[in-house]
């Protein structure tokens, strides 16, 4: 698989304000890559750097093997982009807006363009300023998708459209992946990333804190284990086990968090008479929150 996006120590500072700091990312062709982080973490800054809308303070961003700074005109024809917040031409209709961007790009198949509008249930005859927020997002999606780009960069694309349209959008993403296209999806909605992405990067306060598959991220994090003993809680038997933390004894019950393999805990528990054993796989959201609680985290490309 070829690498579509690669950043090396990519940094952007806005004077005294933090942008992003030494972000290393690698996105492979044909994958849906989730870029997760809370508001203000640096997701949009990273995307704007990839698209050469802003220039890095240091480091570099490569898209299709080309440095984004200086090769925007070569990169952009192969890219579709939907910003998180954008304005368009109030006095044009949605259809005219879409046509204008098709003209700027060239080579747009009108039948495919129409099919997108139909799938998103977009009325192209209304003026852009009359659209609801969701319909404005739909115009943005059609603009991003209509030229069948090799790389789709979508900044929080589902913040607006209704659930039915969101479903159409995710179907389209899967179709695009099926055709070998790459999707870079920024979001702060964990469920959205969890159900659609192959790999996920988490960014916090401008720094990348984790990159991995959705499953790997879960495995890399923790299990929430609850043991109910017939007798007193043997706290010492668990306190020294690798990856075990947050032990909370309560009567005959012990709650603990296990990072990494759960085997040692299972073996230790087997030494005692147990009334109950529950181990819950954390959701990505819990993983995400756990990451955000840490003081420092290694950056690992998975």
């Amino acid at each position: 698989m070829s690498t579509v996006i690669e950043t090396g120590r990519l940094t952007k500072s806005y004077g005294s304000h933090r942008g992003i700091i030494e972000v290393d990312l690698s996105v492979q062709a044909g994958e849906i890559f989730g870029f997760l982080g809370p508001n203000g973490a640096g997701k949009t800054t990273t995307i704007r750097l990839l698209l050469d809308l802003i220039r890095p303070s240091s480091g570099q961003a490569m898209v299709f093997g080309l440095a984004s700074t200086g090769h925007a005109v070569e990169i952009h024809p192969r890219t579709g982009y939907q910003p998180g917040e954008f304005g368009l031409y109030d006095r044009l209709t949605g259809g005219q807006t879409i046509t204008y961007f098709a003209n700027l790009r060239g080579g747009v198949d009108p039948a495919y363009q129409r099919s997108l509008m139909e799938r998103f249930d977009l009325d192209p005859s209304r003026q852009y300023r009359e659209y609801s927020k969701g319909n404005k997002q739909k115009v943005g999606l059609v603009v991003a998708l209509q030229h069948r780009p090799e790389l789709l960069i979508l900044d929080e694309p589902t913040a607006g459209p209704d659930p039915l349209i969101q479903q159409s959008f995710f179907d389209l993403m899967r179709e695009a992946r099926g055709e070998g296209r790459t999707i870079f999806l920024s979001s702060h909605i964990i469920d959205e990333v969890e159900r659609s992405c192959d790999r996920v990067a988490i960014i916090r306060e401008g720094r990348l804190v984790r990159v991995g598959t959705v499953e790997a991220l879960r495995d890399l994090s923790h299990h929430q284990v609850e043991l109910t003993f017939a007798g007193p809680v043997p706290l010492d038997a668990f306190a020294g086990l690798p990856g075990v933390s947050h032990l909370e004894p309560e009567d005959h019950r012990l709650r603990l968090r296990v990072a990494g393999p759960i085997g040692p805990v299972v073996r230790a528990a087997g030494q005692y008479e147990l009334l109950d054993f529950t181990s819950r796989e954390p959701s990505l959201e819990e993983t995400f929150l756990a990451e955000y609680g840490r003081e420092s985290v290694d950056v690992r490309n998975g």
Partner: protein, 563 residues
Amino acid sequence: MSATADQPASLTVVRRPSTLSRVYGLGSVFGKTLRDTRWAVVALTIVLCAIIAVTAQAYVGEFDTVASRAALAAQMAALPALFQGLLGAPIAIETLPGFLSWRSLGFMPVLFGTWSLVALSGTIAGEAGRGSLELLVAGPLPRAAIATQKFGAHALAMAVSLGSCAMVTWAITIAVGKLPGDETSLGAAVAMFGWIFLLSLTAGAAAFAAGSFFGRAVAAGSGAAVLFGSFIVNGYAQLVPGFDTLQHLSMFDWTEGFRPLVGQWDWPPLAAVAGLALLLAAVGVIGFARRDLGSTIRLREGGRAVLPVGLSGPVARATSDRLSLALAGGLGLGLFGLVVAASADAFVRTIQDTPGLQDLIERMLPGVDLTTAGGVLGLYFVNFGTLIIGLLAAALVGGWASDERERRLDLVLTTPLSRLRYGAASGLGVLFGLLATVAVMAAGIGLGALALGDDPVTPMAGSVILGLYGGAFAGLGLALGGWGRPGWAAGFVAALTFGTFLLDLIGGIVGFPDWVMQLSLMQHLAHPMTGDYDGPGIVLMSVLAAGGLLVGAIGWTRRDIGR
């Protein structure tokens, strides 16, 4: 269960904003509006005070004897009313306050009125555009209170600025005055600036009232019609047949007898203007309180429907976006040119009926044939026309800057369009807009000349030079916007336009050094309406227009977008 019983009393106390923050700060709509206008207040106060100080110093230096001032006053008084035009009658200009009142302050309602109409046309519409109005209206404050506070804060901001200028004027007349009558009283200075305040605020109030029913563009247009219409009709009443009747609708005409700096006090008309401003403000407040939020009456959809939407590429799109404003400006200038050109016959009759006037004109404007439409246009149209076309250039540059401000560029620049090409294309849109203005203006001027049976081609060609003048300023704005922040560009072009106009207005009579006067682009126009062109001036303006566009386009390639 009582949730509050165990709570410390301090937790249930709601902190109220301080009185200071409610007056100036984030404690109220009034305070925030006042805070938002602080830089405009500072900038305009500095500009106006500087104009007053420079004019006063230059006047006292140039006319430092009773005899020289008497000669000046006699020379100006000898000019027929026809020539006094936009400056009005030169009353007591042998004194420093009289000269300031005539040469500097008479025009100030146009400067401050422009600020007022821009601010008050956008105070509601601008907030609606940002999306913050819905949040504001959803709060506990009644809509009428929101609108009143916004209007009141703007009025106070203007009062602070003009009050400061009144103090400076009073102090300057004391500091630099040399001859008897050069000093004015603080009361007279305050009253004079009160006149500027009320006329300016009335223009803003007209925009505010219209803004409650229509969009921002119509609101600004209404305010501009009240301000510029009133100023032009009054200034040209002696020249243009019919304006003498319309003159009575002008607030400048109503208050002609109120010149406190020269001891003329006529309060009733001023009270009428104040009443009109209040009435318009009330219409604005009530209109805003009663209408659906975000629902305005659209006037121009029919007209817009015939304009091309410009989808074929970036030049077409940028031009199309600028076209409606450019054509509206061209229409206004064309009508103005038409009535001035068509008035040439009346002007010629006046010259023939006034003994010695023809000789005087030949001495003032050698080689210019004032019996033609072009000659009359050169005398009466070009000066104010350059001001209008400069402000139009500022508005077009402001529209150009909105591509980045409103984040359209994020999508446009992620197409295969290079930044250089976008910069050049969008800048061309501004210049093509001005070309459209010139085309309509030239048509109006040509019709006026034809109505007299005069040569239409020469004044029509002259109007191209005016377009070039606007293009030069636009080019400078595009260069600044391309390299710096587009948000600065329109203000910069407007400041250049007013600065140039005032430099020309004041500098000529008080004898600024030649190198200072040469900084004014108006000095490089020659007499274009009569076919007398300034070659180097045309080259300079062309270089500024095209070079500014190119420099701005290069600037786009070198900076972050949307900063």
